[in-house]
Amino acid sequence: MSSLLKVDNLESYIGLFTILHDVNLEINKGEAVALLGRNGAGKTTFLKTLMNLVDTRSGSIELNGKSLVGVPTHKIAKMGIGYVPEDYGVFDALTIEENLKVAMWKEDKETLERLDYILELFPDLKIAYKRMAKTLSGGQRQMLSISRALVNKNQILLIDEPSKGLAPVVIEKLAHALKEISQNTTVLLVEQNFAMACAVADKFFIISEGKTVESGNIKDLMQDKELQNKHLGVV
């Protein structure tokens, strides 16, 4: 398998704060990877750094061998990255339909098929299709945010805590869907819900204090209670 995303010695900062100190990771095509770590460890900041929403100080990020450092966000996205931010990033003043439309790169048959698939997955959105996004419930916002990242054909999906705020049934459905999607599209998942992470991912990385400290196969992590305890506090 060839490496899709490769990050070396990444250091990034917001204003006067250095948040990521030393992040290293490599993700191959077709993998589903979970990024784990405690609150404030720097997971979100890492995803934002990939999207160049947070500035890189040093180190390298490569997608398919092309450096992403300093590339404008919209160009990074167009390289085939779908991004679900932690705070949903829903456009309140637009309808659900418009939110999705804005996200679509083209409106060809394939995209529309994906749209159908999404609306099937989240029937809530279908019902509220013409409504302003600001009226959505917390969970519905999450659904919309995920949907927006799914309408395009991406190489890789960056998803920040998708299970947050979703009801168990929906999490289940989502996990299935992500699993399915990860057959064709690489998925990088930040999760606090360990079960969800395990259900979707094959590999994991753990970030602590702005550094990647552990990585490996997620099945091993499931077994390794000690490691879980050390970095995740899962009992």
Partner: protein
């Protein structure tokens, strides 16, 4: 049944044609921890909004401590002893974590409109604020601006603020969404303590472990309508609840299969 703190009578609201909450009757008991469960978009947050006064119902009434508060402003209800947190993080971004909590404390202490005394003079207020920050694991970050906190940390701050408010009844809307799993037990502890100090808690939560560990009673809402209520064990086995909300617990299977 113990003393009823909050009661809704046929409460409902519709947005256009859509009935987000539909003739819901609930009784929330003093001293108990009640959890409201339901699928996404069921109307849980909307119910909170109706109870706390953020929205005015299109039908029905809300009673708080026996008084009809249906048309009272949120402010009046808060003054009567209601406190709530928000599902979408809602803190004062450009103020420090400390100031966020201190303000809640100030409100609780009812300092009133003092316009020419220094806020720093209220020493015990500051002390209590520190205590609360310690409880919600934010002691080290008290001088951080709220906007500089990570999402999980902001959730903790939000919790700290309502704790400082020390209301008689506390409405918590998914307080732990996005919090690290390691900290869930701490949160459970915090909530137990709050409850033990005599505060009634109403919780909206999707984390079933936590719900089961904490709740005295579950209320299930689906499609804006009351479905059922009861103790956690019974209700979580109710087939209808399983179907509408909990699903089949397939997640774990999936994970095992890889």
């Amino acid at each position: 049944m113990g003393e009823i703190l909050i009661e809704t009578k046929d409460i409902g609201i519709s947005f256009g044609g859509h009935k987000a909450v539909n003739k819901v009757n609930v009784k929330l008991e003093k001293g108990k921890l009640t959890t409201i469960l339901g699928p996404n978009g069921a109307g849980k947050t909307t119910l909170f909004n109706l109870i706390s006064g953020l929205l005015e119902p299109t039908e029905g009434q809300v009673f708080f401590k026996g008084t009809d508060v249906t048309h009272l402003s949120p402010l009046k209800r808060i003054k009567m002893g209601m406190g709530r947190s928000f599902q979408l993080t809602n803190v004062f971004g450009a103020l420090t974590a400390f100031e966020n909590v201190r303000l809640a404390m100030q409100s609780k202490e009812n300092i009133g409109f003092k316009i020419f005394t220094d806020h720093r003079k209220y020493k015990d207020l500051n002390k209590k604020t520190d205590e609360i920050l310690e409880k919600v694991l934010l002691k080290d970050k008290k001088d951080f601006l709220a906007s500089e906190l990570s999402h999980g940390e902001q959730r903790k701050l939000e919790l700290g603020m309502v704790m400082a408010l020390d209301p008689e009844i506390l409405l918590l809307d998914e307080p732990t969404a996005g919090m690290a799993i390691e900290e869930v037990p701490v949160m459970i502890d915090i909530m137990r303590n709050i409850q033990n100090s005599g505060t009634t808690i109403i919780l909206i939560e999707h984390k079933m472990d936590m719900v089961k560990a904490l709740s005295d009673k579950l209320i299930i809402i689906v499609n804006g309508m009351f479905l059922t209520e009861g103790d956690p064990e019974t209700v979580s086995k109710d087939p209808e609840v399983l179907k509408a909300y909990l699903g089949g617990g397939v997640l774990d299977e999936l994970a095992v299969k890889g």
